[in-house]
Symmetry: C2
Subunit: 143 residues, 2 copies
Amino acid sequence: MKQTLGAASGLVRLTFLVQNLYAEVGRGCDLTVAQAQMLCALTEESLGMAELSGVLGLERSSLTGLVDRAEHRGLVVREGDPRDRRVVKVTLTAAGADAVHRFHQQLTERLEQLLEDLPATERERFARSLGRLVADVPAVFTD
Amino acid sequence: MKQTLGAASGLVRLTFLVQNLYAEVGRGCDLTVAQAQMLCALTEESLGMAELSGVLGLERSSLTGLVDRAEHRGLVVREGDPRDRRVVKVTLTAAGADAVHRFHQQLTERLEQLLEDLPATERERFARSLGRLVADVPAVFTD
DNA sequence: CAAATTACTTCGTGCCACGAACAATCACAA
DNA sequence: TTGTGATTGTTCGTGGCACGAAGTAATTTG
């Protein structure tokens, strides 16, 4: 008699699980959750503070400190944008790119490992459903 | 040509999405994420600090402050356990039970609403897969 | 009964997030 | 051109969160 867990509860628990994995892998790469998230958002391209705060869903004022600490640790640099002298572009340094690469790789591995609990076709279907649900979530993580 | 998102990326984005919902609903109930999580863990039964830290995945020292603040706000009370005078049981107050009930209800609603993006049978399957993936996650959220 | 274990707390540190207030820059309209 | 209003970032103050090391009290174990 296996009681079926409600879908909502399943979602919350999955989130809890992934969140913990995220934090754990982050610790292994010497990155906090917020830092890892930011670096991931920057892997594709440099972003201005406002753009970045939009992607991450943070207030601009919150971001300032986050970037400060990351910059201080040499993961990221601030650069002025000649097109618009108000904007400050945030760009990964080599070290930052390296760290986020390791992080991304390890996290992906752990997550795929987690998905191995599902048989192949089910996993396939699950991934497709996932894709639909997150269709309009900002690119906080990419393949 | 809709590019299929990798399963790992899907998981991370879903987590991001649910996490934000969680925070948003929490704010509406005047609860921080950590507080809501703790209250949810206590809805079933009172727990000792050690048990609670186990469920939430926190250090005991982190929990002390969390309970302090929640207690100070009247959401929770500490009670000694006569069986073992070392343990401190944490129990919801009426206000705490009320808050977590509202939170739970609203979050569940929002999540089910989110799942409406999937057709019925797919949603059904998705929920079943979820159940398997989170089989051994502590009861941080229940139906 | 002594020693090891367990349950919690305290303290110090650092990170995170918010909102209000502010300076610089830009866009646009009169 | 010169306001005027919006946008971009930053600073500052506040509060919450999480950790580890160290300490106290109660329990268990040998």
